[in-house]
Amino acid sequence: MNEPRATREGYVEGILRAGEISDRVAVIEGDVSRSTGSAAFGERYPDRFFNLGASEQDMLGEAAGLALAGFIPFVSTYAVFLTGRAWDQIRTGVCYMDLNVRLGGAHGGTSVGPDGATHQALEDIALMRVLPNMKVLVPADANQTRASVLASLDMEGPVYIRFGRNPVPQIYGEDEPVVPGRGKLLNEGSDVTIVACGAMVSRGMRAVEILNRRGISAGLIDMVSIKPLDEQLLMEHAGHSGNIVVAEDHQMAGGLFGAVAEFLSRRLPVRIASVSVNDSFGTSGAPSEVMSRYGLTADAIALEAEGLLKDQAAVAD
């Protein structure tokens, strides 16, 4: 495996390539262009780069205006402020008009680490997922983030792309495409299926190894496209194993677990567990320490999987 890279690096590569592909692509920033990395776009395409300062509501309003003028604006800032501070602008200004605005949510989840709870976006997937017309992509590594940005160019209406600050293991090759509505089956398994997104995908891979060593066959789905959700893939694997563990660096309510549970409860009720932050704010610390504190680990995924299998055995008795 190559050196770990931050998904934000993939975002920057993606917008630079997008800017090259289309002169309609513009970038709106909110005074964190060196954190998100979008400053590189500003250096290459200064005319199409707007740093609007610390003013998320204005950023989203202007993005709607640029889209109405025929541009494809990528709006990037910290996910917590992007999706929370300007939610009504995203709702009424962007989604209601179904505009081609791309939202780049940086520093998603607990990956901000030391900055603490105020800067850790743990509700962003939920906030974006409930909006009509919005699509939600949560890539797991830098290449997949780059591919998500490029895939969004061919999508209609608003798209939210969440990425993180800290290096994560590289999973995908450079040419691995992202297709809206499609997850990636990373491992086949018959006893339990792990459904993960973002930084939890690599942890899901480690959980598969842990479970294998304990004689448990675990499947792994990278649900990069949370909305639209890959319902077909879920049906196949939930039906196969009957046990699902959903893992995300996000609140339990409303995120990937919400999406999967809402779908399966209607179509194919199965045993389901969640590895996530449970109705709590984050805290300061090194990212890996914060993730351990909230149980966002491979061990926690394995433990939940084993719990489901115990429940299954108890029912069978």
Binding site: S55, D58, E62, A64, G65, A67, L68, T92
Partner: protein
């Protein structure tokens, strides 16, 4: 077009609005009446538009940031030829293109969907940025309510417009002094308004929002400055119907039988002064 003709149009718009709101059973007469002359001036004299080609790319744009005044805008669009005036009576009804607040995907002639206050000016800034990138001459106009200026997002956009020198952008404040809960000064004072806009780097002109010669002069001035410009149009909430004028109770209320008859009489010109 002469002021007398424009006055006739403004009266027509007020009559439409009254009937539409009466037919709908709800709506916002106060802020629709205060904006009647501003909208007529815009759509008959200021905006470069083609009503029979609503999507003409090089047209000027207009955003009704105070979306609740849409009955007046709908009337103006219909009278200007964007759609049949017959549709006006469908306001707020199920399946109607005339939504309670404007939806651009339902009705020709709308350049944005609005209704949540404080959002229009930032959209207008984004449009102006886009047209400048494309070297297009389209100007962008945005009508705001005075109560709406309490939204912080308006001032984020105001800062941005000045920072980027968006001289193709003109905001109009419908300064009718009254908002939903009472007078603007009693609910949350926004004065000194001229100083606020000046300090944000805007060119400011004050106009009589019910006088066509005054509005004409203000719009001419606004189009000629090197800065983003704002016209503070002094108006009267509920203008044209004596018992509605200046009264917050008529921000969003439908007249009953008696009130409707009296308002109709006054707007038709039988008003006892």
């Amino acid at each position: 077009m002469e002021p007398a003709e424009l006055q006739g149009l403004a009266r027509r718009v007020r009559l439409d609005v009254l009937k539409m709101i009466r037919e709908a059973g709800s709506g916002h007469p106060g802020g629709s009446f205060s904006a009647a002359e501003i909208l007529v001036e815009l759509y008959w004299r200021v905006l470069s538009i083609r009503p029979h080609e609503p999507d003409w790319p090089e047209r000027d744009r207009f955003i009704l940031s105070k979306g609740h005044a849409c009955p007046a805008l709908y009337s103006v669009l219909a009278r200007r030829g964007y759609f049949s005036p017959k549709e006006l009576m469908s306001l707020r009804k199920i399946g109607s293109a005339l939504q309670g607040h404007p939806n651009m995907h339902h009705l020709p002639g709308l350049d944005a969907s609005t209704g949540s206050l404080g959002q229009g000016l930032a959209m207008a800034c984004g449009m102006a940025q886009g047209f400048r990138l494309d070297r297009m001459g389209s100007r962008v106009y945005c009508l705001l309510g005075d109560g709406e200026l309490q939204e912080g997002s308006v001032w984020e956009a105001a800062m941005s417009a000045a920072h980027y020198g968006l001289s193709s952008l003109t905001a109009i404040v419908d300064r009718n002094m009254v908002q939903l809960d009472g007078t603007v000064s009693s609910v949350m004072e926004i004065e000194p308004l001229v100083d606020k806009w000046l300090s944000f780097g805007w060119d400011v002109v004050v106009a009589d929002g019910h006088s066509f010669p005054s509005l004409e002069k203000a719009f001419e001035h606004a189009a000629g400055t090197d800065f983003p410009s704002v016209i503070i149009a002094n108006t009267v909430k509920g203008r044209g119907v004596s018992f509605m004028e200046g009264r917050y109770q008529w921000h969003g209320k439908c007249p009953d039988d008696e009130e409707y008859a009296e308002a109709l009489k006054q707007l038709k010109g039988d008003r006892d002064e």
